[in-house]
């Protein structure tokens, strides 16, 4: 059923949903293309965000159908906690603590645990995910602007001196 040639599913940041469904979104058509013909994965945190929104009974049935059609990554584990600590560290080094919410950090952490590509339309979440080594190529954020930020982030992350050790 699976093949080595099949791409890994996009780990879906919930914000993509609103960009696809809003009629006034300039990215609806393009993100529709990005998620077509490729599986989506839902983190524990993304699923919780979706389920916690207000839905009618009919909508909730459809939501359940959508959730069950995605690869669900399950509840967080010890490995997720370790990735969260790493994300928190990167976020601090890039001084993005106030711009990347804890919810985003958990979502990125579980995406990193499974080494999935992240599909997000949040610039700072994309920066942190990229800084931890994730594939963020699905985003439709401004590429040239992102590239400048990525280079800036790389300079910060690779110039940090190793802290001195006390023996």
């Amino acid at each position: 059923m699976t093949s080595a040639n099949e791409p890994a599913p996009w780990s879906l940041d919930t914000n993509i949903v609103s960009y696809i469904v809003r009629e006034d979104s300039q990215w609806s058509e393009q993100y529709t293309r990005v998620i077509t013909n490729r599986l989506l994965a839902l983190t524990y945190f993304g699923r919780a965000e979706l389920e916690a929104a207000e839905w009618s009974d009919i909508q909730r049935v459809k939501l359940t159908e959508f959730i069950e059609s995605c690869v669900y990554l399950g509840p967080p584990s010890d490995a997720t906690r370790r990735w969260f600590a790493r994300i928190a560290r990167v976020r601090a080094r890039l001084q993005l603590e106030r711009r990347v919410a804890r919810e985003d950090a958990w979502l990125i952490a579980q995406t990193a645990e499974y080494q999935l590509p992240l599909l997000s339309h949040d610039r700072n979440a994309v920066r942190v995910a990229r800084a931890i080594g994730l594939d963020v190529s699905g985003t439709l954020l401004d590429v040239s602007q992102l590239e400048r930020l990525f280079q800036q982030d790389e300079r910060i992350l690779t110039n940090d001196p190793l802290p001195r050790l006390d023996f």
């Binding site: 469904v21 006034d24 459809k62 059609s69 985003d104």
Partner: protein, 311 residues
């Protein structure tokens, strides 16, 4: 399942350039990389996310060989003797399932030969391919050209002429890919003109990396420590260099791979990657009006508290 042990079972052949003799200094590292690659292949064939922890008895039966070194000379041969019969028997008893029942050292080595001969595509998409990349780099360090001769379980040679692998010389030109690794930093070797670092990741795989001189001080502090390593890899050659090292905080240290990888979850959940659902239609049917969609966007802004699309 018993085998004769007098005949070499797998032979790696390293051809020296321009008649120069091939040294055996790098053989130890090569064998470590060979073991790592074989473990990854075995895990892959067993449907496991990857090898973890020390070698299990089951894995040992698949990857432990007796080394016979032939040389020196312009050609260096490393002959691997067949696995001991008792290991082969334990292998067949220890592994359950139809797929697993066919998993023998022969299968693993044939896969390894095929992986090496495929030449790689410059994209280390899986842990297995990363391990193969590392083995290929290790072979390249021994000699610019290398071959592998492999016999199957019935002792017939499946490749009678050493298969020449085209291994491009290292250079720094071309597209570069950056990666971040987490693991234990180990000393590989240190010479005046070259420092190398082995990073053993928490899934058991490892990578040998060249470290530039300006990181030498950091390198000394990092040995035997858990580190974050930022590396740049030349896509065309697979040649990797360390860009930075950072010691990990205690909360960051430990096994960081899930119990089940996403492929396993996908199969368990009955999802078929070759026939993905029509997600756009499903999502659009969730919202009756655009106002509903706007309300959902506002809800997300509230629960996230922050949002930045760069405009």
């Amino acid at each position: 399942m018993a085998r004769q042990t007098s005949q070499p079972w797998v032979i790696f052949i390293f051809h020296g350039a321009d008649g120069e003799s091939v040294g055996a200094r790098a053989v130890g590292q090569f064998l470590l990389d060979l073991t790592a690659a074989a473990r990854h292949i075995a895990a892959d064939l067993l449907g496991q996310p990857g090898p973890q922890g020390p070698l299990s008895l089951q894995e040992r039966s698949l990857v432990e060989y007796t080394l016979v070194y032939s040389g020196p000379g312009s050609t260096l041969k490393i002959e691997l003797a067949p696995p001991r019969p008792e290991y082969a028997l334990q292998t067949s008893l220890a592994i359950d399932g139809q797929r697993s029942s066919q998993l023998t050292p022969d299968v693993v080595m044939r896969e390894l030969r095929d992986d090496l001969a495929s030449g790689g595509n410059g994209r280390s998409a899986t842990r297995r391919s990363r391990a193969i990349d590392e083995l290929r780099a290790s072979m390249r360090r021994i000699a610019p050209q290398a071959g592998i001769d492999c016999a199957d379980g019935s002792r017939r040679r499946v490749v009678t002429i050493p298969l020449q692998l085209s291994l491009p010389a290292d250079h720094e030109a071309g597209p570069v890919r950056r990666r971040v690794l987490f693991g234990r930093a180990m000393m590989a070797d240190a010479q005046p003109d070259q420092r190398r670092l082995r990073v053993t990741m928490y899934d058991g795989s490892s990578l040998l990396l060249e470290v530039p001189n300006d990181l030498a001080v950091s390198l000394r502090d990092a040995f035997d420590r858990d580190v974050e390593v930022r590396i740049r890899t030349v896509v065309a050659t697979g040649h990797s260099t360390v860009e930075s090292l950072r010691l990990l905080e205690p909360a960051e240290i430990g096994v960081d791979v899930p119990d089940k990888d996403w492929q396993t979850l996908m199969q368990e959940q009955g999802l078929d990657p070759s026939n993905p659902p029509d997600y756009p239609s499903m999502l659009k049917s969730l919202f009756d009006t655009n106002d509903d969609a706007v309300a959902f966007a506002n809800y997300l802004r509230e629960v996230r508290g922050t949002y930045d699309v760069g405009e």
